[in-house]
Symmetry: C2
Subunit: 465 residues, 2 copies
C-alpha cells in the first residue's frame, strides 16, 4: 500500500463499524494504549520487558496492529469514486453481453491477510472477485483488490469478509452483480499440552466461502457457473464452497479446542489488556463475536510463556541418553550422517508477538560411544524451544547446542520458516520464507558433509517430503 491508502477520515464509516477519530492526538492515544496492553501481556508471560529483544516490541506490535486493521479507517466510497469509466456494451442490434454491459470481469488470486476475530491471529486469504458491469461503465480493475483489502484489514471471519466485500462493491459500483470467492487458511492452534498427541498439524485449517449479489444472488444462476470455470484451476467449485449459515466452529481452530484446565486460571489482567487492544483498534469490544476472543488469544499466548524449559528439558534429555556402547547398539563412526528432516515446529516471534512456524532439519555424526537420538526426542526438543517468545536464529542455535553434547559435538541444524510478521505487516511479502543454519563441530569446516546434508533437504523438498 502506498501512503495514498493511509488517508484518515472524519466522516462516518460504512458497514456499521463505529467511528473512531483519527486525529494525530487520538491516533497517538490509541497507539499508547496498545503499547501498555502489550506490556501487560509480556509481563503475564513472565518476560523481562526491558530486555533488548523486547524493548521495542510493544511499539512494533501497536504499529503492526494499527496497520493491520487500517480498514476501519478507510472508506470504499473514496476508493471507487472517480474509478468508474464509461465503456460501451454490445450494439443494440446484436444479442450478447460484453464490455460495460454484461461481460463478466474477474480478478483472480488476490493475496490478502486478515485477522481472525475469534483468536486475533492473522489468516491468509486468496481472493477472487468478479462483477458484471451494467450502465455502460466498468470500474478500474485495481479497485476490486483495494476494496477487498479494506475489509480484510479488520478483525474478520471468512463469510463476513466475503459478504462485506460483496455488498460494498455492489453499493459502490452498482453493477448487475458482484461475486466473491475466498480461499482462507488459518494457522493451526497447537497447544503445548496436547501437541505431542497430535498426529499432524500441517497445512492449517482451510475454508472456501462465497458471496453474491445481484445476478449472483441465486447460487444456481448460470453466471456462477461461468465464474467457477474461470477460477477452476484453483481447485474450487460450487461443491466445496462452505454453505452459508454453518457455525464458525468449523473455521477457527481455537473455537474447537477443548477448554483446557488452565483456562480458569488465565491472568485476568492479560484478558483485560486484550480487550483494551480491541477497543484501541476501533472495534466494538462488546460485539458478541469478540466476547471470547481475549480469553482465546491469551490462552494461545500462554503456550509461549517463559518458564524454565531448559531444566525440564535437561531432565527429559538425560533420560533419553543411552549408556556408552550398550549391548546391541550399533556405533557408527564411519562418517554416516544421521538425518531427521521436516520436524514441524511452532513459535512466536518476540519482535512482533506473531507466530512463525515451519520445519526443522537435523543432521549429525555419532561420535564413538554415543547412540542415535530417536525422532520423538528430537521432536520434543524442537517443541520445547519453539514454545517460547523466540527469534529463528536463536531457536536454530538452541536446538543445535542441546543436541550436540548428546552425540559428541558434530551437528547441523537447518530451520525453514514462514514468518507471519513478514506477511501480515506492512511489508507484505506473501511467498517469502526464511532459512537459518547452525553448524557445530566438523560441520563447521567440512563443506562436503554440509552439502550432503543440504542436498538431502533439497531432495526431500522436491519429492514433497
Amino acid at each position: 500500500m502506498g501512503c495514498f491508502d493511509e488517508v484518515c477520515y472524519n466522516g462516518e464509516l460504512e458497514n456499521g463499524v463505529s467511528l473512531f477519530g483519527c486525529s494525530e492526538v487520538e491516533d497517538e492515544a490509541n497507539t499508547v494504549a496498545i503499547e501498555d496492553a502489550v506490556k501487560i501481556l509480556l509481563l503475564g508471560l513472565g518476560e523481562d520487558i526491558n530486555r533488548e529483544g523486547l524493548r521495542k516490541t510493544p511499539h512494533r506490535v501497536a504499529k503492526a496492529l494499527r496497520e493491520g486493521t487500517r480498514g476501519y479507517r478507510q472508506k470504499v466510497k473514496d476508493i471507487v469514486e472517480g474509478a468508474l469509466f464509461p465503456e460501451a456494451g454490445i450494439d443494440n442490434n446484436k444479442i450478447g453481453h460484453a464490455g460495460g454491459a454484461g461481460g463478466l470481469v474477474i480478478v483472480r488470486d488476490i493475496d490478502l491477510y486478515s485477522y481472525c476475530e475469534s483468536c486475533l491471529l492473522p489468516f491468509q486469504v486468496k481472493c477472487h472477485v468478479g462483477y458484471v458491469p451494467s450502465g455502460q461503465r466498468v470500474v478500474g480493475l485495481s479497485k476490486l483488490s483495494r476494496v477487498a483489502e479494506v475489509f480484510a484489514k479488520r478483525l474478520q471471519e471468512p463469510q463476513r469478509l466475503a459478504d462485506e466485500v460483496c455488498s460494498a462493491l455492489q453499493q459502490g459500483i452498482q453493477p448487475a452483480g458482484v461475486a466473491v470467492v475466498l480461499q482462507c487458511t488459518h494457522i493451526h492452534f497447537p497447544d503445548i499440552e496436547t501437541i505431542f498427541l497430535e498426529s499432524s498439524l500441517k497445512g492449517g485449517a482451510k475454508i472456501h466461502v462465497s458471496s453474491g449479489s445481484g445476478v449472483f444472488e441465486n447460487k444456481n444462476a448460470d453466471v456462477w457457473a461461468d465464474f467457477f470455470y474461470l477460477i477452476k484451476s484453483r481447485g474450487i467449485d460450487m461443491e466445496n464452497i462452505h454453505a452459508q449459515g454453518l457455525p464458525d466452529q468449523c473455521w477457527c481452530p481455537s473455537l474447537s479446542t477443548k477448554v483446557s484446565s488452565k483456562t480458569g486460571s488465565i491472568n485476568p489482567a492479560m484478558v483485560t489488556a486484550v480487550f483494551s487492544i480491541l477497543k484501541s483498534l476501533g472495534e466494538d469490544s462488546v460485539r458478541k463475536e469478540l466476547a471470547g476472543t481475549p480469553n482465546r488469544f491469551v490462552k494461545w499466548l500462554l503456550n509461549f510463556q517463559s518458564i524454565d524449559m531448559d531444566v525440564k528439558l535437561n531432565g527429559s534429555v538425560c533420560g533419553g541418553i543411552k549408556p556408552l556402547n550398550a549391548a546391541g547398539e550399533v556405533v557408527n563412526n564411519d562418517k554416516q550422517i544421521y538425518t531427521e528432516l521436516n520436524l514441524p515446529f511452532w513459535s512466536q516471534c518476540e519482535h512482533h508477538i506473531l507466530p512463525f512456524h515451519g520445519v526443522v532439519h537435523i543432521g549429525y555424526f555419532l561420535s564413538e560411544g554415543f547412540s542415535p537420538i530417536g525422532k520423538s526426542l528430537l521432536q520434543s526438543i524442537v517443541h520445547f524451544y519453539g514454545f517460547k517468545l523466540q527469534v529463528q536464529e536463536r531457536l536454530t542455535k538452541q536446538i543445535a547446542e542441546t543436541i550436540s553434547p548428546l552425540l559428541g559435538g558434530n551437528v547441523i541444524v537447518v530451520v525453514e520458516a514462514s514468518h507471519t510478521c513478514m506477511i501480515s505487516r506492512g511489508i507484505e511479502k506473501f511467498g517469502s520464507s526464511t532459512a537459518t543454519i547452525a553448524v557445530l563441530g566438523c560441520f563447521s569446516t567440512d563443506i562436503a558433509s554440509r552439502i550432503l546434508f543440504l542436498q538431502s533437504i533439497a531432495n526431500a523438498t522436491s519429492s514433497g517430503g
Copy 2:
C-alpha cells in the same frame, strides 16, 4: 508498504544518488511536471487527452511513477537503525557457527518489482537475500526485504540492483558477509512491425544475477554452496548465474531490438517529455545508462498509437472471408464449437500507460454459409486490438464484435491477462490475473455451450497449454 515507509528525508541519499528535496512544494512540482510530460506522450500517440478514460491518466501515471521510484527518497540507515538485536553465538568452548556469530540466515522468495533503466518498463524480481551475522547481533528479518525494496523502487538493471542491495546491507548491518541472488523477468518487447514474424514471445526475458560481500566476496567460498543449496528448489545454481561484466544487451529486450526505420522519425517532443519524467523522478538524466531510455520508451509506446486500425483490419478481414459454401469447405451446423485457445496478446493499459498481456481464447459456432477462420487471421485480429491504449473489457468486446459477423453471430471470447498496473503500483498484488468474457448470439443464453468452451480452457490450462 505502510505509510511508515513513505517518510521523506532532507539529508543526502546513499549510493551516489543525487538528492532531490521532498518538501510538499517540490513534490507537487515534480508531480505536475510528470503529468505535463504524460499529456505530451498521449498527444504524440494521437489520443484525445480529454476523453473520459484518459482524463486522469496523467495524474495516475505521475502518482504510480513517483510511488514506483520512492526508493530515491528512502535511506537504508533509517530502516536498519534500531533493528539490530543482540544474539549470542556459539559458546566459546565449542567449535561452530550459529545465532549472532556465523549462522547463515536467508530470506527467500521476496517478490519485488523494479523499473528497467533501459526502457522504463517494470520488471519482476524474485529476491533471495542472506547474511552471516557477526558481532553477536542479528537484524530483524523484515529489514532484509525492506532494504531490497528501497533499491528495487528505482530505475534499475539487475546486476546493479543486486550490488546496491548487497553493499547497502553490508554497510548498514556490518555482518560477516551478505549474499544477494535475484531472478529477474522482463516483459518481452514486441513490435507491431515484427510481431507476426516472431515464433514465440512467451515467458519474458529472464536473468539470474548475484552479488556478494565479506565472506561471500569470493564466488568459490564454501558459504555460497550453503546458500545455493538452500534456494535450490527455485532452479538456481552457481552455473546459471549471469557472470558479472557481461553487457546489458543480454537483458532488456529493447536493447537487442533492431533499430526500426521509424526511429529516425520519433517525435522529439515525446522524447523530451520522457527526459523530463526521468528528471522529475529524481534521476540523474545525464547518467549514461539513461541516454537512450527516452527513445526506447517512446518507440515502445508508439506500438500503441491511435491509428485507424479498424479500417486496416476490415480490409484484411474481408480478404480472409471465404465465399458462402465454397467447394471443399465443410459447413458445420451440428453445434460443433470451433475453438482457438491461448492466442498471445500485448496491450497498454490506458489508465496507467503500463503493459498488460496474456492470452485470448476464442470459441464460435459456424452458421450456415460461413467458413472457419484460420488461426493466423484470429491472431492478427487479437494483435490489432491489442496494440492500442486499451482496457481489457473493451479489448474482449472488440475482438468478439469483429469476429461475430464473419461467422454468423455466435461467438465467445475470454481474455486472461496479467496487468502490470496491478503489480507494480501501490496495491502490489503479484499473483493476480484478470479474466473477462464477451458472449454473442446463442452463447449469451446457452449455458451448456458456454460451459463446454470454458471447460476446454480449463483443460488446456491444466495441461500447461
